[in-house]
């Protein structure tokens, strides 16, 4: 028996870039995170060939979950074709040999930066969100030790103070993205900086959402069919962005979350933020046969 028989042949890197121990760490912490919805689990965040703050947390989760049969979709602020999304998608495909797609319906694993696709995700899809600041209590409690104690005690009164201040100062809740939400009636999480528009999509969703912050080394999850309730006062209802009446100037779709594009004259036009949804609409207009999924919002209203 020689040494070469006992060892594996040399490879440039492990499958899916991360080594086995890193994947095991991620898997264990993901299971913990799913077991306690919304609770932040610390994990040993590894180095990936990308700068911290560019989605390393999400990438580690994706690399752990991916296999050669997983179809991967990567979104950056709704767009599949931005540099960041394209690089991450290409990287995952290269190290894992996984097929890639831009179509939400065909994807098994969706890594996203700050948006949830407009088409409803199904039970067998996993959404991975990149999170820059996982701690919802940071604006009201700078001391992280005390913040953890507050989470343990469900001492969340001060989160409403933040909303109170915004209403007093501006007449309405100004919190645009990462709107604090109560998960499963127990933990408050910051749903990564997704717009208010996207938060109701997480409520009782069919898919699993994993939120991972690589720099802050925290992972948390919203399992399928879990309550996600944005914090509100009993007499001030939750309001999403007023995008229901806007029309995309390229695809002509209406009633979805839009990106504002300022024009020379001081006006602005709008473009649907979920780029693939816009592409589908244009293809359909041009007579191509495309399959459009059910959407969460219909005519600018969240379907209940």
């Amino acid at each position: 028996m020689s040494l070469s028989e006992l060892t594996k042949p040399w490879e440039a890197m492990s499958y899916g870039f991360l080594d086995a121990s890193a994947k095991r760490e991620l898997r264990r912490k993901m299971i913990k995170a799913v077991a306690v919805p919304g609770c932040q689990m610390p994990y040993a965040s590894r180095e990936v060939p990308m700068a911290r703050g560019w989605g390393t947390g999400g990438l580690q989760v994706s690399l752990t979950l991916v296999n050669p049969e997983t179809t991967v979709k990567v979104i950056d602020q709704g767009a599949d074709d931005s540099v960041n999304a394209a690089s991450i998608r290409r990287f995952i495909a290269r190290v894992a040999g996984a097929p890639v797609t831009m179509d939400t319906l065909q994807a098994d694993l969706i890594q996203s930066r700050h948006r949830i696709p407009e088409e409803i995700l199904s039970e067998d899809q996993i959404l991975v969100l990149q999170v820059p600041n996982p701690e919802p209590l940071r604006p009201v409690q700078p001391n992280m030790s005390i913040a953890r104690q507050m989470h343990a005690d469900a001492d969340y009164g001060r989160m409403w103070l933040q909303l109170y201040e915004q209403i007093v100062r501006s007449g309405r809740v100004m919190q645009g993205a990462s709107y604090p939400s109560l998960v499963h009636g127990r933990h408050i999480m910051t749903p990564s900086p997704i717009p208010r528009w996207d938060v109701p999509k997480l409520h009782m969703a069919k898919h699993l959402t994993i939120l991972s912050a690589g720099r802050e080394k925290r992972i948390y999850a919203v399992p399928p069919y879990t309550r996600v309730e944005p914090l509100v006062f009993s007499d001030v209802p939750y309001r999403v962005e007023d995008h229901g009446g806007l029309t995309c100037h390229r695809s002509g779709t209406k009633g979805f979350f839009m990106n504002e594009i300022p024009q020379d004259g001081g006006t602005s036009t709008y473009e649907v933020s979920d780029s693939e949804w816009g592409v589908k609409a244009i293809r359909q207009r041009d007579g191509e046969g495309v399959i459009k999924g059910e959407t969460w919002y219909k005519n600018g209203e969240m379907a209940q």
């Binding site: 104690q149 005690d153 409403w160 103070l161 006062f233 009993s234 007499d235």
Partner: protein
């Protein structure tokens, strides 16, 4: 010689607050040595003493911020039983938020300086579970009004306010939930004399209107004389003399109290 003053026979009610045989050491320093205190409902207990006499430590214990080495503490209120030092963190916080109000000497300890004044008061209500914006706003306004805070500055952050105004915000926060017990830790120290008089006026009016039990800690005999019904003199972690306010000021028995009263005059 027993120093604790026995309750007069005609007093039928039990003391609202009872601290029994409390001792506390910080390293080599004995901050409190077998201190007992009580206060009847609606009564104002004044605690005087020099710096380092343990009076603030005692007050912090009454607010359940600190646990003594020995001793017990009870409040005679519905739903609060037994030694309060045995409560867990969660029960302590709930009790402090709903039953006890505190005003610190340093407003930075009691207030969120960059949030609005009304928000500071609203925080108390939020901790207690109020979730209606209109109610929060109304109750915060009422509490600030009761502590004679100018309502046109309702939403100014405390950092922009004067010292006297900051103390009023603290007071409003303390009384927002109509606590049974109000603790005042040197509430007027650091304010100039005229502002001090105004704050004392407010406190006195509140006491008369609401019959709150108060414990006021001060090294300023004038403040104690204005407010307190009964006085406890502390020195080096021990109670050296207790008695009715007039008694203590007119006829001090202990050498240290005599010194203190004379120093004032």
């Amino acid at each position: 010689m027993t120093l604790a003053l026995e309750a007069p026979r005609f007093v039928k009610t039990l003391p609202l607050l009872r601290v029994d045989h409390v001792s506390k050491t910080y390293g080599d320093v004995q901050a409190l040595r077998d201190v007992s205190a009580y206060a009847y409902p609606g009564e104002v207990l004044g605690i005087v003493g020099e710096s380092g006499s343990g009076k603030s430590t005692l007050l912090r214990m009454m607010n359940l911020e600190e646990t003594p080495d020995q001793g017990s503490y009870s409040l005679n209120l519905p739903e609060t039983e037994g030694n309060l030092f045995d409560l867990d963190r969660f029960a302590r916080r709930m009790l402090c938020a709903t039953k006890i109000g505190i005003v610190y000497q340093n407003p930075h300890l009691g207030l969120l300086m960059k949030h609005s004044s009304s928000g500071n008061v609203a925080e108390r209500l939020l901790v207690a579970g109020e979730r209606s914006f209109a109610t929060l706003r109304a109750k915060a306004t009422t509490a600030l009004e009761a502590s004679e805070f100018p309502l046109e500055r309702l939403d100014a952050p405390p950092i922009e306010l004067s010292g006297g105004m900051q103390q009023r915000v603290q007071l409003a926060k303390a009384i927002a939930l109509e606590p049974a017990l109000l603790l005042l830790d040197e509430p007027t120290t650091g304010l100039d004399v005229s502002v001090q008089a105004l704050v004392l006026d407010t406190l006195k009016r509140l006491q008369q209107d609401r019959q709150i039990t108060m414990v006021i800690v001060s090294h300023d005999l004038g403040v104690i004389r204005t407010l307190a019904d009964r006085v406890m003199v502390m020195r080096r972690g021990q109670v050296v003399e207790t008695g009715l306010a007039d008694q203590i000021f007119q006829d001090p028995q202990h050498a240290y109290t005599q010194q203190l009263v004379h120093a004032k005059l």
